[in-house]
Each structure stands twice: as structure tokens, then as C-alpha cells.
């Protein structure tokens, strides 16, 4: 929405916007309440969500958080919290485009540098399942595609 709003401001210069150009804003207003409530629920449940994702990751493949003798749990946790927050922010302002440009593309290069695609794939898949416990089906319908976008870019 923010990216689209910037485009709107740029393009609608000295004239009134058309109905088609305003469609995204109407769509946003229709879902705004859901976005706010989902955002607040995610914020409240962040610790639990991350804990459950971590458990799932360990159950799927305990070696993913360890390389040799080095334990990457703390690093994983920091990255997962950060990823969840960026995704929640994208949900709040309905800006998947901005999420990709501002965070995911950069983070993808970082994750690839550390060969962490596999753990990202499982992390963001598990996150999609786990956040459903905290959100209504309508809220999850808005948020899970964003997590799927993160999984797609970071997991390969």
C-alpha cells in the first residue's frame, strides 16, 4: 500500500485520481481493521510463535541449528524475530512490494552467504502453520501469503 501510495502521489500530479487508481486504497480500508488486529496479536504472541517455530525446526532437522560444534540457535532466533517483524509490518501497511525491496532481497543474499536456505524454508513454512493458532481465518488469509513470499525468496 505504501509503495502504491507513493506511485499514486507521483502519477496523479495536478489532476484527480481515477476510480481504478484508487482501488488499492479502498481495498486497504476494507481490510485495515483486520490488519491492525492481526498485527497486535502477532506482536503479543511473538515469543510464543518463535518458540514453537524453533521446536518445529529442531524436530524436523536438529542439525540445522548447529554446524560442527557451533550452535546457531541465538543467531537463528534473532533472524527469525526480525523476519517475523518485517512481515508483520508489511501486513500492517499492506506493502509486500516494499517488504521485498527493503528487506527480503537483501536478506536473501545474506541467507545464501551462510547457506541457510534450508532452515529458512522450514522456518517460514512452520511460521505459516503456527500463526494460524493466534489469528482468525480472515487475518491468517492476509498474513500467510506474506510469510509464503518470505519462504519463497529466502528458502531457495
Amino acid at each position: 500500500m505504501l509503495s502504491q501510495l507513493q506511485t499514486l502521489v507521483r502519477e496523479v500530479d495536478g489532476r484527480y485520481a481515477t476510480d481504478t487508481e484508487l482501488l488499492f486504497l479502498q481495498n486497504y480500508l476494507q481490510t485495515a481493521r483486520l490488519r491492525f488486529s492481526a498485527y497486535q496479536k502477532i506482536q503479543k504472541a511473538e515469543k510464543d510463535i518463535i518458540r514453537q517455530v524453533k521446536q518445529k525446526l529442531k524436530a524436523t532437522n536438529p542439525k540445522l541449528l548447529r554446524r560442527g560444534k557451533v550452535d546457531f540457535s541465538a543467531k537463528w532466533q534473532r533472524d527469525a524475530v526480525s523476519g517475523l517483524r518485517f512481515c508483520a509490518h508489511a501486513l500492517l501497511v499492506a506493502d509486500e512490494e516494499g517488504l521485498e525491496e527493503n528487506f527480503l532481497l537483501w536478506f536473501q543474499s545474506v541467507m545464501r552467504s551462510f547457506k541457510a536456505q534450508k532452515s529458512c524454508d522450514i522456518t517460514y513454512k512452520a511460521m505459516q502453520d503456527i500463526v494460524r493458532q493466534y489469528l482468525t481465518p480472515q487475518e491468517a488469509e492476509l498474513f500467510c501469503p506474506i510469510l509464503a513470499q518470505a519462504r519463497l525468496l529466502l528458502g531457495q
Binding site: E101, N102, F103, L105, W106, S109, V110, R112, S113, F114
Partner: protein, 227 residues
């Protein structure tokens, strides 16, 4: 394009811990009163058009003929060497760790991100042959090749020089680089080979003889004699 430091980026001063700062609005700072553009790392940037790139390359060719390729390469080498020193400073300032202690791939990706933000294209490094003393770099959306279009020959000498200069400074060992596949030859992306001079000279010879990038990769990987 960027030139040495102008002044600090106010957003960076406010959020020094922010690493994902490569979108247009965050990365560049337009200092309107001075008529300058600074980037996140304090380097001065200049916006140029495709006409400028064409003018630069054609003007140079008119002045020095075929040597223009070597001139662009040399400019790239100097740029890469200087940028390596500049990079060391901002990497350590931003990540609080020296480049020598950082994960190599992370270090290289971090080096290239400002170039991506500036419009030089995205890259992909293939270090599978690093132990053998060479590596490949794939460049997507080269600003030079994209501007010149399909001219039937490699044109990204500036990039080849930039990679040679940067890596030479980084590993403290004389390295050369050659573009073995270019968007301007009708390919979908550009490919560079980086390695010791004798290896790059051999690749240049094979390329002149009509070898493709795939041929060169095969020859190098099979350990074919260089002369």
C-alpha cells in the same frame, strides 16, 4: 557513479544499526542546498544518463581507438582498489567486525550491495573453483551493456577492471579479470572470469579463437595447459 566521501548520511547517523538500507529512499541522500547526492556510506554519487555512458565510451574510442578497452579496464582497476580500501572502513564501522574475520560470501555480497543500489546490476559469484585459483562472476543488468545493446562483442571492461582491482587489493595478490560472455553479445547476462594473469591471458586467447564461455569453463576445469 560515486566519488570519494562528501558528508555523512543523516539517516545512517540516526539508524547506524540498520543494515537493510539499500532501497532508493534510504540509500541516497539528496543535499539540495549543496546540489550533491551522498549515499549511505558517505560517498558522493552522480546520476548519469545512458547518453552519458555512450558519450563516454564513444568519445574515448574516438580519442584512443582500440586502446579504449584497456583504458576502461585500467580505470576500473584503480576504482576497485580504492573502493576496496573504502569498503574495509565502512564494513568495519557498520558490522563492528573486521573484513578478515567475516564470512567471505557475506563480505562480498555486502561489498556489492551499494553497486546494486546505484544501478550497476545484481551479481552472483561462483566460487566453486576457488581452490584452483579462479572464479566466475555473473552480472545481471550491466549498466554498460544494457546501454549499448547488442553490439556483438564484450563491452564491460570497466566492470572487469573493477573486479580485478577489488579482489587484488582484498587478497593482496595480483589478479586479472576478463569478460567471457556479455549481454552485448546477445547473451542474457554477463560473465566474468577472475584469476591469475596467465589464466586470464589464456582465456583471452581462447576467446579470440572463438571459444564460448562454456568452452572456457570446461577447459579451465579440465586443467588444460594455459599456453
Amino acid at each position: 557513479m560515486d566519488t570519494p566521501s562528501v558528508r555523512a548520511h543523516t539517516l545512517r547517523q540516526k539508524y547506524p544499526q540498520k543494515h537493510n538500507h539499500y532501497n532508493f529512499a534510504d540509500f541516497f541522500q539528496f543535499n539540495e542546498s549543496e546540489g550533491t547526492i551522498a549515499d549511505w556510506n558517505g560517498s558522493r554519487n552522480i546520476l548519469t544518463s545512458e547518453d552519458f555512458i555512450i558519450g563516454l565510451l564513444e568519445g574515448l574510442e574516438e580519442e584512443v581507438g582500440a586502446a579504449s578497452a584497456a583504458v576502461m579496464y585500467s580505470i576500473g582497476v584503480e576504482w576497485g582498489k580504492q573502493d576496496s580500501l573504502f569498503f574495509d572502513q565502512w564494513f568495519e564501522r557498520e558490522y563492528k567486525v573486521s573484513p578478515q574475520q567475516a564470512n567471505l560470501m557475506f563480505l562480498l555480497e555486502t561489498w556489492w550491495w551499494p553497486f546494486t543500489a546505484q544501478g550497476w546490476g545484481r551479481w552472483e559469484i561462483d566460487m566453486a573453483d576457488r581452490q584452483q585459483g579462479f572464479m566466475f562472476i555473473n552480472l545481471f543488468d550491466s549498466a554498460v551493456a544494457r546501454t549499448l545493446g547488442d553490439v556483438g562483442k564484450p563491452v564491460c571492461y570497466l566492470y572487469a577492471g573493477l573486479y580485478a582491482g577489488f579482489f587484488t587489493e582484498m587478497v593482496r595478490k595480483q589478479l586479472s579479470c576478463i569478460e567471457i560472455q556479455c549481454y552485448s553479445m546477445g547473451e542474457t547476462y554477463c560473465k566474468f572470469l577472475l584469476g591469475a594473469k596467465e589464466r586470464i591471458d589464456a582465456a583471452a586467447f581462447w576467446l579470440n579463437e572463438g571459444a564460448t564461455a562454456i568452452d572456457i569453463e570446461k577447459r579451465l576445469r579440465s586443467g588444460e595447459p594455459l599456453s
